[in-house]
Symmetry: C2
């Protein structure tokens, strides 16, 4: 299948590009490379050194014999994006090309407005481009489980059937997102849903949980193909940050009580979920929502898991409860349905101690690149 | 009370400015005057000739002895907006300053992106400005009943209590907006709700129905104070458009079957609803939603009402069913709760034949300004 991966240079995008290419799909990338610029802005870096995008695709061609085309530009630049769609004529478009850090979006007004305008306008441009040039293309959009917040009822996959005053309807699941970034994803969801209803576009919204792990079979196969490993308090996510903190001899920074429960997924499962959505597309007019995670954990559970495995590598890790920089419930009900991708054939890789040990080992190997000054949260929600 | 009215030069904003000023509030206006520019862009005009904003406030001072300060600038210009908030220190902010036409937002990609970026970024700037400079100020935001769409259950005021799998929660009412403009209002609602939850801001979202009528006691009191009367297919709304069509000898342009049912409200009630919200503010941290309309009608009912009254002025009006330019259900269940404003003391002015006759008379008086070429819809949803 001809697949365009928007944001194909990023943490989820790059492994997806390689996985889909390895599976025989004809893959092209759209990316502005701005994620690398955010590292410059924040003074952060990937724990694993990452090659440039041209180096990456050149090496992939050497390793696999497969070509990946690159279009460097910004999705908010409509003329650029339309030109790419015209030339590539993709059958499916996987859209990761958004600012995806909650803390980054909460730095200040400028970062909030940037995040929302960037994500919403980029996605709108893509929707109009699909309508005009490739109306049959299947849009696979990365959403987030964070769109739902933590309601006191079970979270369904995108929709909920409500009985109310003797009548019934199935409606979009109510959203209570927890940051300016998460809000931008809610806006996207409403916009995409509308375009499916009105223009008959076909879209799958992958409401992904927190991703952990770093490498997939393809990214691990050569150092030039390595995936990025974000460990700082802005772009690093819970488990991955704890791994690096353990290796750095730093306290594991649990925010508040740590009872915040979320859905989690391994990066190796992310790429297969995208492939499953690709192989089983939404119908014209359908806005389909999958909750893309494999297990629920509380943040404290994850920290304790890392602390328990750390001694295997002769590391001592202590869990510390920091004042929570975010505004969120620290003890709450959480149960989210996530059966749609399983029904399509996903065989989840669950978190086990060996994976935690592997990640610790990886972090040990690159421990001279840990920036200890970037582990503590500096962005406050209030 | 010190009140800032954003969008105070517009169709709802200007009558609100005068009403609040007449009630003794200390009113200042923020407006970019862009609504007048859109008339230039579209080749349209208000049926009633309207004075410039400086002329309006000068005449109001002569008539009432009351001063209204004007700040001319754009809400997406954060430096400008922050400066106004610092200088005015409002106790309440009424925010009408958005692109508010569904057809305008559906013209093409540029107009869609403009509408969403303009509305969302302007409101975000305002939220950050309130947080920084006037955190106690009560934000009164114009939303729209169109955020809800037409669900098959009763529409509640902002929230709905859902029982699901043996558990219960009260959550934001699910949204199914019908245009890029309506979507922008849904985005605003989520953004404002978040800022109330996280920063403790106090906000009231007025989900207004379709407004009809033109003048209020204050705007009618002097020709220089006249309100704008939009009659074209882009900015004109159902009843007001039918009035002008009847006077122009044009068919009354009902889109499709005309079974589309909506909540409606007179402009004279709009200004009182805003005042009621102002006098009974939301609490810190509260995001309160009022459904601001007084009666439900189908579009066909309104056209037939105008056709029935037209002969009083020796006009002959015929209802015509046009192919619907929009994508919407033309026959559907619709029942929306709207008791919160009644509970605060609103005494609704219901639609009666005398008002229809008055509007017809007003349109007859200015019939030489009718632009017959602007009555038919040109913007298609598909």
């Amino acid at each position: 299948m001809r697949v365009l991966v928007c944001g194909g240079d990023g943490f989820c995008g790059w492994p997806t590009v390689l996985h889909l290419s390895a599976q025989g799909h004809d893959v092209a990338i759209v990316d502005s490379l701005v994620r690398r610029q955010w590292d410059v802005e924040l003074g952060t870096q990937s724990l694993l050194p990452i090659a440039t995008l041209p180096e990456r695709v050149a090496r992939w061609r050497e390793c696999s014999g497969r070509t990946v085309r690159c279009h460097i530009g910004d999705m908010t630049d409509a003329a650029f994006l339309m030109d790419v769609l015209r030339r590539e004529e993709p059958e499916a478009i996987v859209h990761f090309a958004e600012q995806r850090s909650a803390p980054y979006s909460m730095i200040d007004r400028q970062h909030a407005v940037f995040t929302q305008v960037n994500n919403v306008a980029g996605t709108l441009n893509l929707l109009y481009g699909i309508k005009e040039f490739v109306p049959q293309a299947h849009l696979i959009k990365l959403g987030t489980m964070g769109e739902y917040g933590t309601p006191n009822i079970d979270i369904e996959e995108g929709y909920i059937t409500i009985e109310h005053k003797g009548r019934t309807d199935t409606l979009p699941f109510p959203k209570q997102p927890g940051s300016m970034y998460h809000l931008s994803k809610v806006h996207d969801s409403h916009n995409i849903h509308f375009c499916c209803r009105v223009w008959g576009l076909a879209a799958t919204d992958l409401n992904q949980g927190v991703v952990y792990g770093v490498q997939t079979a393809e990214t691990a196969s050569d150092p030039v193909l390595y995936n990025r490993f974000d460990t700082d308090a802005i772009f690093g996510t819970a488990l991955n940050r704890f791994i690096v903190e353990a290796v750095a001899g730093h306290d594991l920074t649990v925010y508040g009580k740590g009872g915040q429960t979320r859905g989690f997924i391994q990066i190796a499962d992310t790429v297969r979920c995208v492939e499953l959505a690709l192989l089983h597309p939404a119908r014209p007019g359908e806005f389909r929502v999958f909750n893309q995670f494999t297990e629920q954990f509380s943040v404290l559970q994850l920290a304790e898991r890392v602390a328990a495995v750390a001694p295997r590598l002769r590391l001592r890790a202590r869990v510390a409860h920091l004042p929570n920089p975010r505004v969120e419930q620290e003890e709450h009900y959480y149960h989210a349905v996530h059966t749609a991708l399983i029904d399509l054939g996903l065989e989840p890789h669950l978190l086990d101690d060996d994976l935690v040990a592997d990640l610790l080992q990886l972090a040990v190997r690159f421990s001279d690149r840990i920036l200890a000054g970037k582990l503590l949260p500096t962005v406050l929600w209030r």
